[in-house]
């Protein structure tokens, strides 16, 4: 697997930015209006399936320089939970699932 660029891992992002990005991406994959996404509702309720869920994890990796497991969106099913989890990943720390890679 590719090794991650440390500098990208340290990139600072704020909660609003993350939330906006996630909502837009989720809305695109389930083909709905971003304005209608409730950040405290499980995305599966909007019809997000496993393909989109894994794809979002991969998109997050590429955009924010983190390494995530394929089942990230099962463990953190709402937009707000994902945002919180991402913010808790301390900069420079690659991720909490190091042992899985």
């Amino acid at each position: 697997m590719s090794t991650r660029n440390e500098a990208r891992g340290r990139q600072q992002v704020d909660a609003e930015q993350l939330r906006g990005w996630l909502v837009a991406r989720a809305a695109r994959y389930v083909r709905m209006d971003a304005a209608d996404v409730d950040c405290d509702l499980a995305l599966s309720q909007y019809g997000m399936d496993s393909v989109s869920a894994v794809a979002i994890a991969v998109d997050l990796e590429d955009t924010f320089g983190v390494v995530l497991d394929v089942d990230t969106l099962w463990k953190y099913p709402t937009v707000n939970q994902v945002v919180e989890m991402l913010l808790s990943l301390r900069p420079g720390v690659r991720d909490q699932r190091e042992e899985l890679r």
Partner: protein, 422 residues
């Protein structure tokens, strides 16, 4: 090994060749020549009990009639849970969550539905439409290969051709194929997802999730897009799409390479067959069918479990026991094919078990034969000039009970120095 057990009034056949059939089947000689030991077993009886340590019994079927009957028997299932989860097996043995919805590890009614949804776009027309692309790939591979003094017909040709073919079918962009090279050989030795390195499994899952998302937004004329297409009726869900894409990519690779390799090795040693094929290339498909019978790359079927007690041949297979059909042994059963140990492309190969039988009959059979046909067409003119570049004894064979075939086939052009005649 324990005393012969009594099953339904008949004595279960215990490892008749060795004290342990299991260890016999794992010996290094077996890989190069499974025919002799399996032939001995077949003569002794149709069904043989094997007791691998830590696992419930496995029954190995070596005769055609019983093998075909087992493949058609709906009481022998793929999902061990339906057989009471015998010792040594996990639910959905070897399948990770996201890969569990493939064809090979599911039983009816799930299998029926999945197979229908995959078979619909996987038409003979779609397979045949891949021919020009496969031919182009074969030409490119040959041209690159023959620039070297010695080359390997398997790694330099058969492997690349098989990868290109399945990637074309699925619609994997040409630029991404290099990714598979970096994942390396490891990738294609994954036959059961649970055995995959975890990082490999994760990489493949992520790769396909993203590709599927892209194809949802911009469909192409490929199998993946066709599987995704919303026809308004029943269709594959996300789990199923990932399972199908990953399993189609992986399942067919190893046997596809072995089929081409076994065919080439056979022909290298039979110049008269090469000449006959050059004179009449329409004989190539029949020749490939005979390779599938005579040198079947699938040594055994995939494992099945008895969902209830099943009488087979002269034994009773108890609920929970595992069953393997030796396709190699069945295909050389003299009760089914006359002079089975003779390679005879003109024979009627109808009923050979090289692709299995029944509801799990290989869905890639047509594709596999097409790529093998293209491979032979491309290499026939070259074959009379090729010599093995290593002594015969140095050739390596695929280990294990699942696959029979030559692993590498290093050759050089005749006339180039110090050849060992093939």
């Amino acid at each position: 090994m324990s005393e012969p057990s009594t099953a339904g009034g008949v004595v279960a056949r215990q490892c008749p060749v060795d004290t342990s059939l299991h260890s016999r089947l794992r010996s290094p000689d077996f890989a190069a020549n499974p025919f002799t030991p399996l032939g001995e077993l077949r003569e002794r009886g149709p069904v043989h009990r094997c007791e691998p340590p830590g696992s419930s019994p496995i029954w190995l079927i070596t005769r055609y009639a019983e093998g075909a009957a087992a493949l058609l028997d709906r009481r022998l299932v793929k999902d061990p849970t339906a057989a009471g989860l015998p010792a040594g097996w996990q639910p959905g043995e070897g399948t990770s969550q996201l890969w569990s919805r493939d064809l090979a590890s599911n039983d009816p009614p799930h299998h029926t539905r999945l197979r229908r949804l995959v078979a619909r776009p996987f038409t003979p027309r779609r397979v045949e439409s891949l021919r020009p692309g496969i031919e182009q790939a074969a030409r490119d591979l040959r041209e690159r290969m023959v620039k070297q003094d010695t080359f390997d017909l398997i790694t330099d040709f058969a492997g690349g051709l098989t990868t290109a073919t399945i990637c074309d079918l699925l619609g994997i962009p040409a630029g991404d194929r290099e990714l598979f090279q970096t994942w390396g050989d490891r990738f294609f030795t994954v036959t059961v997802p649970g055995q995959a390195d975890n990082d490999l499994f994760v990489a493949i899952t992520k790769y396909f999730a993203r590709l599927i998302v892209r194809r949802r937004e911009e469909p192409q004329d490929d199998l993946l897009s066709a599987l995704i297409r919303d026809t308004g009726e029943d269709r594959l869900d996300g789990h199923e799409l990932i399972s199908m894409a990953a399993s189609l990519l992986i399942t067919g690779h190893e046997p596809g390479v072995r089929l081409i390799g076994n065919a080439l090795y056979l022909l290298l040693r039979r110049p008269e067959q090469v000449q006959a094929l050059q004179e009449d290339p329409t004989r190539i498909p029949a020749t490939i069918r005979e390779v599938l019978r005579f040198d079947s790359p699938a040594l055994t079927s995939l494992v099945r479990f008895a969902a209830e007690d099943v009488e087979l041949g002269d034994v009773v297979i108890r609920r929970g026991d595992a069953v393997l059909v030796s396709l190699v042994a069945a295909n050389r059963d003299p009760a089914r094919f006359a002079d089975p140990d003779e390679f005879r492309p003109s024979r009627d190969t109808t009923g050979h078990l090289g692709f299995g039988l029944g509801i799990h009959f290989c869905i890639g059979a047509q594709l596999a034969q097409l790529e093998a046909e293209v491979a032979l067409r491309e290499l026939l003119p070259l074959l009379p000039h090729l010599r093995l570049a290593v002594p015969v004894d140095d050739l390596r064979w695929h280990p294990g009970l699942q696959m029979y075939g030559i692993r590498d086939l290093p050759v050089r052009m005749a006339g180039a120095e110090s050849g060992t005649p093939g």
